[in-house]
């Protein structure tokens, strides 16, 4: 009998799906029991992991953002996943998309995590609020947004229709701000951190300014909510106050559940974030599984095998996880017919090809200095506390300092 302590940070709609998966696993495996804990997403989670792992009180397995892997390596909280491990899990490296597999490796090619999904932000929309505008086609699908101007026209239109916050996203949280900013930056072809570690190299400075200025405009026009926290940003949309909502795919289940129980009160849809700037791309990240260090100790082999069994099983069952809006990183599932037909995933499945991952850097990723900059610099800037230029200058300064 093995007990596997599991930590995750999945508190959104996808958390429910994960709970179900864990339960299913426990039912199927009388000899392995997962004890799951959901901690607060972001800095609290990674702080806890770090301290707990250092004193040998961490979990046996945890979810981890691949964007944060470099930082995790620097912190020294991750143990390598060996070939035997993969074997125990019944997985092989070839089962995963190249990009996510690379992201799960250290600079020397050692694997430190097993990828689980690819997720990005999408654009949710409220069909009721869009009714009567040019942006809804006959099928009731979103249409006609091909540029920033289009999008802003759509915002103005839903505002007209009585939406108090035409596009909601977590304007007061690190994640929400960072994702939108990064998406806008990447759509212009800008770079946050270059390969050789330069922050906002070259004309990326201007591009970052444009991104911030855009978000600032949305605020000034009253299109985006002021300082919305994560829950509030979701609630704005689900309570019918927002025409659009930019958030991760993980909130798809929330919408589905609410719609099913009839509590939503409007028709909804979700599409890949449209091309607002020069290129079609969207911020994306991956959830993965990792095994933290156990203080000075070492995990015994049987436990490790059990942990890997869990990881393997999860990947094999990632179709259910896809129900949480994510795109599985495990090819056998991602390429299966069932997934190809899955809605609304199919609507935005193309984004996997256009995704922009975070730069591979110790200062990037969830709960990193880059995210700190999002909440400490960009968020105030888009609310008018400083100009985009000042903000970008500060970002560059702060992050460059953090590099050293």
């Amino acid at each position: 009998q093995q007990t596997v302590t599991w930590w995750d940070f999945l508190a959104g709609g996808d958390g429910v799906r994960m709970k179900a998966l864990i339960e299913e696993f426990n039912e199927e495996h009388p000899d392995i029991q997962i004890e799951g804990t959901t901690l607060e997403w972001g800095v609290p989670f990674y702080t806890k992991v770090r301290t707990a792992a250092a004193v040998g009180q961490g979990p046996d397995v945890m979810t981890y953002h691949l964007s944060r892997l470099p930082l995790g390596l620097e912190e020294g909280v991750l143990t390598p996943i060996t070939a035997e491990d993969m074997e125990a899990a019944g997985l092989s490296e070839g089962d995963f998309f190249e990009s996510s597999l690379n992201a799960a490796k250290g600079p020397d090619g050692t694997l430190y995590a097993v990828p689980f999904d690819i997720h990005s932000i999408v654009l949710y929309y409220n069909k009721s609020l869009l009714e009567g505008t040019d942006f809804l086609d006959d099928n009731g699908e979103l249409t006609g947004i091909e540029s920033l101007e289009d999008f802003e026209a759509a915002l103005a239109a839903v505002q007209e229709n009585g939406s108090s916050a035409p596009v909601s996203y977590a304007t007061g949280d690190d994640g929400g701000v960072y994702r939108v900013f990064y998406t806008l930056l990447q759509q212009q072809g800008g770079e946050l951190i270059s390969e050789d570690g330069e922050v906002l190299p070259g004309d990326s400075v201007e591009k970052a300014e444009t991104a911030i200025a855009t978000m600032t405009k949305w605020f000034e026009e009253g299109w985006q909510p002021e300082q919305a926290l994560y829950e509030a940003s979701v609630a704005l949309f689900t309570s019918g106050k927002s025409g659009f909502h930019m958030n991760g795919v993980w909130e798809v289940p929330t919408m589905i559940d609410l719609a099913e129980s009839g509590e939503l009160g409007f028709e909804w849809g979700a599409v890949e974030v449209p091309q607002l700037m020069d290129e079609q791309t969207t911020w994306a990240d991956s959830h993965a599984f990792a095994i933290p260090v156990q203080g000075d100790g070492e995990m015994d082999a049987e436990k490790r095998e059990a942990v890997m069994t869990v990881i393997g099983w999860m990947n094999e069952h990632s179709l259910d996880w896809a129900g949480a809006g994510h795109i599985p990183a495990y090819k056998p599932v991602a390429e299966s017919a069932e997934f190809q037909e899955m809605e609304p995933n199919a609507t935005y499945s193309s984004l996997a090809d256009n995704a922009s991952y975070d730069p591979r850097s110790e200062i990037a990723g969830v709960a990193s200095p880059a995210y700190d900059a999002a909440v400490n610099i960009i968020a105030p800037a888009i609310h008018g506390y400083m100009s985009p230029e000042e903000a970008v200058e500060q970002i560059k300064g702060e992050l460059s300092r953090a590099m050293n």
Partner: protein, 276 residues
């Protein structure tokens, strides 16, 4: 009493009670929120009155979190801490107050000085110490650093000082020793202050956040105040559920307070009368 004075009286009483009602409003509002459905919570039409009785968020809170575990941890650590603090405190205070031994003044000086020291400044080394002893994620780890409550010794000493020396002399003449004196006479004589200190220590320990937050890293060992902030459970839009968890977390102490409110009031007053 003249009529103007009567009116003045009624008006002031009314003002006081209205102010009290406003003061308690956040708790009321948390309650109203907690018994609504999530969608009603954020809907514009929801008024100030409890117009709905939906207990599902309480059910969620109780069964989808480890609240029960947290209760157990909180109760156990708070009770043990309180008991140990009181017993060690009263023994030490008795010795300082009633006995003469080399180092007495030094000891009391140290106690007085440590009253001024913010224990929060010691968390780093305390954390390392607890780790060295293997007490991370254990009751011992939560309890140990909270056992230093110098105020208890200071208050006890003041009360023991005030016990008439005849009490002691009567016992000595009867052939009683110091342990007899402390546990059979001084302690029962000071039940009032003992319950007072007990209540205050208990509330303080129960509501402690910073240290348990640091020393506990696993969900099942968390105390209530830490648990409810650290652990989210797939809530989505969850204002009602957050409020239910918060209220459930607060419930034991609040109920205990409502039952013993007279005692608690006295407790604070007694222990302050000393310091003041």
């Amino acid at each position: 009493m003249t009529t103007t004075r009567k009116i003045e009286n009624t008006v002031l009483t009314a003002i006081t009670l209205v102010a009290g009602a406003i003061w308690i409003f956040p708790i009321y509002w948390a309650f109203v929120t907690s018994i609504r459905t999530e969608s009603r919570v954020v809907s514009e039409s929801a008024g100030l009155w409890p117009d709905e009785l939906n207990l599902s968020s309480y059910v969620d809170a109780l069964f989808n979190t480890q609240l029960i575990n947290w209760y157990i941890n909180s109760i156990a650590t708070a009770v043990i801490t309180t008991a140990v603090v009181l017993v060690t405190g009263m023994m030490c205070a008795y010795a300082i107050s009633q006995m003469r031994f080399p180092g007495r003044r030094l000891l009391y000086g140290v106690v007085l000085a440590s009253f001024m020291v913010p224990t929060q400044a010691l968390v780093v080394s305390q954390f390392i110490l607890m780790n060295d002893m293997g007490f991370i994620n254990s009751w011992a780890g939560i309890i140990l650093p909270q056992l230093i409550v110098p105020v208890v010794i200071i208050v006890y000493k003041q009360f023991f000082d005030a016990v008439p020396k005849e009490m002691k002399e009567a016992v000595v003449l009867d052939g009683g020793g110091d342990y007899t004196l402390l546990f059979k006479v001084y302690l029962p004589l000071n039940w009032g202050i003992t319950t007072a200190l007990g209540i205050i220590t208990f509330i303080m320990t129960w509501n402690q956040f910073f240290w348990p937050f640091l020393v506990v890293t696993t969900e099942d060992m968390m105390t209530i105040p830490v648990g409810i902030t650290q652990v989210n459970d797939a809530f989505g839009v969850a204002y009602a559920r957050i409020m239910s968890v918060a209220l459930l977390a607060a419930a034991p102490v609040v109920i205990a307070y409502l039952i013993f409110q007279k005692k608690v009031t006295e407790a604070v007053m007694i222990s302050s009368g000393v310091k003041g």
